[in-house]
């Protein structure tokens, strides 16, 4: 229950009422008040606007139970003189429900304010989060779609055009790709380091003037303003060192992390393409050189005597190599007018039957060119193959070693009319 005062403005106060002939605001406010006056109209006139702020009841003589409102919370209640001894109880009975109502109303109003405050705070937070979420969702959808399209295009580029194109065409392909849908970059330029600065390799679309960074910078990718990106990578070309390259792209609506990441990925891909092509070219040259060297080493034709050469067969002999040797040897016999050819198998590892047949054919062909052919150093394995093939060894001169063959050939040459075996 709130504080309650019982004030009589009349000198003759009912029991329980204190006499305050000129009550002040301080007396009348700050709780419920029960006022007593035999001249209520005069009191109301005296109180004036304060009536609008007092909570309570003005008790006065009159018709029992008649009441009226003097202010938002101040009632006028008439009583008979007989009730004066019980006026405090009467006032309490009158004020009690209002007291509770005021208490409840204040509590509810406070709760209302607190709820409104909490609601406001939460709405603000919800609005903030919703706005944020919408923006992020929109961005995410847009970037996901763009990234997917860009990656698909990149895969197609790798699988198609990039694979087939000549190296010289790559710069044009690169810049064209970046300005094509779905990447929608307004401009693209590819620069290679050259001389004292940069040399433009290819350009597509409209790109505003951009100050190129100095050569040898460390940054892989950098933004110029809020709409242009410069990516740096190495473009290794065949037969040369890696050349520093710059890829410059422009995005009118600004560049974001997705474009930045894509461009970085793309430059890695392009750098790998250049490096792959350079390695491929270098590998081709190395293979050709190796083949020539092998061919040269595979058919050594060694002159061991006047008009006499020796061809040592070393390692594994396959049909292809045997054919090479055959061709080279017959050319040498014809071109150099050789009289004797010693084919030495001492260093030969294994030979298949087809290879052995090629050598027997070689011997016959040498004979047709007017020269003799002697096989030396035939191993047991090769001999078995020869026999297995049904080669008539009487057709082919054989000796145990090159030394023996030479002695025989030199001896034959020394004897007039010396007969050639075979």
């Amino acid at each position: 229950m709130s504080r309650r005062r019982y004030i009589s403005v009349d000198a003759e106060a009912p029991p329980g009422f204190e006499v305050i002939s000129e009550p002040t605001r301080r007396d009348l406010r700050g709780g419920m008040v029960a006022l007593w006056s035999r001249d209520p109209d005069a009191l109301v006139a005296r109180l004036g606007p304060l009536c609008a702020k007092i909570r309570g009841v003005l008790l006065c003589p009159g018709e029992v139970g008649r009441r009226g409102l003097l202010g938002p919370h101040l009632w006028r209640y008439e009583v008979r003189d007989e009730a004066l001894p019980l006026l405090v109880d009467l006032a309490d009975a009158f004020l009690e429900p209002y007291d509770e109502i005021f208490e409840l109303r204040d509590a509810l109003a406070l709760r209302d304010l607190e709820l409104a405050r909490e609601r406001g705070d939460r709405m603000t937070l919800v609005d903030k989060l919703e706005t944020e979420t919408k923006a992020l969702r929109g961005l995410l959808v847009a970037r996901t779609a763009w990234t997917a399209a860009a990656m698909t295009a990149l895969v197609e580029l790798n699988a198609g055009e990039l694979e087939r194109a000549r190296t010289a065409e790559l710069p044009a392909i690169i810049v064209r790709f970046l300005t094509d849908a779905p990447l929608a970059l307004a401009g693209a330029e590819l620069w290679f380091a050259g001389g004292y600065g940069w040399e433009l390799q290819a350009r597509a679309g409209a790109l505003r003037e951009v100050a190129l960074p100095r050569r040898g910078g460390a940054e892989r990718i950098a933004a110029v303003g809020d709409d242009t990106l410069i990516a740096r990578f190495d473009a290794q070309v065949a037969g040369g060192a890696a050349r520093e390259a710059l890829l410059v792209v422009h995005r009118p609506r600004g560049v974001d992390e997705a474009e930045r990441s894509f461009l970085l990925l793309f430059t890695l891909q392009i750098a790998a393409t250049y490096r792959g092509r350079a390695l491929h070219a270098a590998l081709g040259l190395a293979i050709a050189g190796k083949d020539a060297l092998i061919a040269e080493l595979s058919t050594p034709v060694i002159q061991v005597w006047d008009g006499t050469v020796c061809v040592p067969v070393i390692g594994s002999i396959e049909a292809e190599r045997a054919a090479q040797m055959t061709g080279a040897l017959l050319d040498a016999v014809a071109a150099r007018g050789l009289r004797h050819v010693i084919v030495d198998f001492t260093g030969a590892a294994t030979m298949d039957s087809q290879t052995v047949r090629r050598f027997t054919d070689l011997a016959r062909a040498i004979g047709l060119l007017g020269a003799s052919c002697t096989f030396t150093g035939i191993s047991a394995a090769v001999a078995q193959v020869l026999v297995g093939l049904g080669v008539d060894l009487r057709e082919i001169a054989t000796e145990r070693s090159v030394d023996a063959a030479l002695r025989r050939l030199v001896g034959d040459a020394a004897r007039p009319g010396g007969r050639r075996r075979g």
Partner: protein
């Protein structure tokens, strides 16, 4: 010096004021400082206060805020009051100046000059300022006060219940929006003022190349947004509304960041990279990006308490305290906001203290030798002023 604090959450303005007055009447205060939520009829509240005190010869000074905090409680709705009684050792002078929005610097200067004139020959040793920051886009109150007063000034920007629509400052029977009010304290007393916020500076210091009012345009040759993004290691595009309140600037006139103040980012302009802050930043000022978490904000309170605690070596016993905490801190801390005042209570048990969440805090920085910097306008900060009797002064009766 004696002090009492009290609160009321009664909704009826008169009854709330009366409740406060009756609670403070015992010490017969010469001045009562009130921090009220915006819901009250402040005239009615004053009448209640006067009636509760039972006397009219008391100076009432205060304003509205986003709730209040007090020795024993805190609330979004209600009113807190601190009564001070010096037994005549102190003199208090207050003045309210209107039309702050027309020229905040001039209004503050007039207000400061008025209290200084009222004080006459008595030097104004400390002043408290409250002003309606919602009425002025270009807040130059600290500069204006500096042209009239040469003492430490603490205070804050009055506010409302987060609607940011209107706020009031109160001096006696006057309660006005679009106004600035100053309470000057003269005579024999002691005080210490501390300010801190707990934010964590990151990265190198930069220098402001271009700024207009509350907007920083360029720092270290690049847009303000790019500067911040660089220091945070993130893309300018990655900024979101969530960064507001988290990202702040530590600002100072010197590269070593001595006597620094803080600015919170109010919003950013993506197209230009400009950043708008709650308060002006000057060209040539040095700035450093500062981040904040709830724990760091609360650690800032310990910083304030440690700072003012240094006054103990002067045998200074505080009798009352006034706290000004940024409304942004309240927003950021949410339910943990109450921990701020709990930390103060824990350090100064039973000390009468009232405070309010403001839209900007004013305080000089107290240096290690006890001297004060010039007065500064801060964001996201907590200002604590301790008042006590001058050493050796008899206790007021």
């Amino acid at each position: 010096m004696r002090a009492l604090s009290a609160t009321s959450t009664r909704l009826d303005a008169y009854e709330a004021g009366r409740e406060l007055g009756e609670a403070l009447a015992a010490i017969e205060p010469e001045v009562v400082v009130i921090f009220s939520s915006i819901h009250y009829d402040l005239g009615e509240q004053r009448e209640g206060l006067i009636d509760g005190l039972g006397r009219e010869d008391v100076l009432i000074f205060g304003g509205t805020g986003d709730g209040f905090f007090e020795t024993a409680s805190s609330s979004d709705i209600g009113v807190a009051a601190l009564g001070l009684s010096s037994g005549g050792a102190m003199r208090f002078y207050a003045h309210l100046e209107r039309d702050l929005g027309v020229d905040s610097r001039a209004a503050a200067r007039r207000c400061g000059a008025a209290v200084r004139a009222a004080a006459g020959d008595a030097p104004v040793r400390l002043a408290m300022v409250l002003f309606d920051g919602l009425a002025t886009a270009d807040n130059r109150v600290v500069e204006g006060l500096g042209e009239a007063l040469d003492c430490p000034v603490f205070g804050g920007v009055t506010s409302d219940d987060r609607k940011l629509e209107t706020s009031y400052v109160v001096v006696d029977g006057e309660a006005h929006a679009d106004a600035v009010a100053v309470l000057a304290l003269c005579g024999d007393f002691d005080f210490v003022v501390g300010v801190e916020n707990g934010t964590c500076p990151v990265g190198e210091v930069g220098r402001v190349d271009a700024a207009e009012g509350n907007t920083i345009l360029r720092i270290d040759g690049r847009s303000a947004l790019e500067f911040v993004a660089d220091r945070l290691g993130k893309s300018p595009d990655a900024f979101t509304h969530q960064d507001i309140g988290v990202v702040n600037f530590q600002c100072s006139a010197r590269a070593d960041m001595r006597d620094s103040l803080y600015r919170s980012i109010a919003q950013w302009r993506r197209e230009s990279g400009a950043l708008e802050t709650f308060g002006p930043v000057e060209v040539g000022q040095y700035v450093r990006v500062a981040l904040v978490t709830s724990d760091e904000l609360l650690a800032g309170i310990d910083g304030v308490l440690d700072g003012v605690g240094g006054a103990a070596d002067r045998a200074f016993t505080p009798v009352a305290a006034l706290g000004i905490s940024c409304a942004g801190r309240k927003w950021f801390l949410g339910p943990r906001f109450a921990e701020e005042i709990e930390a103060v209570r824990a350090r100064f048990p039973g000390l009468p203290i009232i405070g309010f969440p403001s839209l900007g805090e004013i305080s000089p920085r107290r240096r290690g030798d006890g001297s004060y910097s010039r007065n500064l306008f801060h964001n996201v900060s907590f200002v604590l002023t301790l008042l006590g009797a001058a050493a050796g002064a008899p206790e007021a009766t």
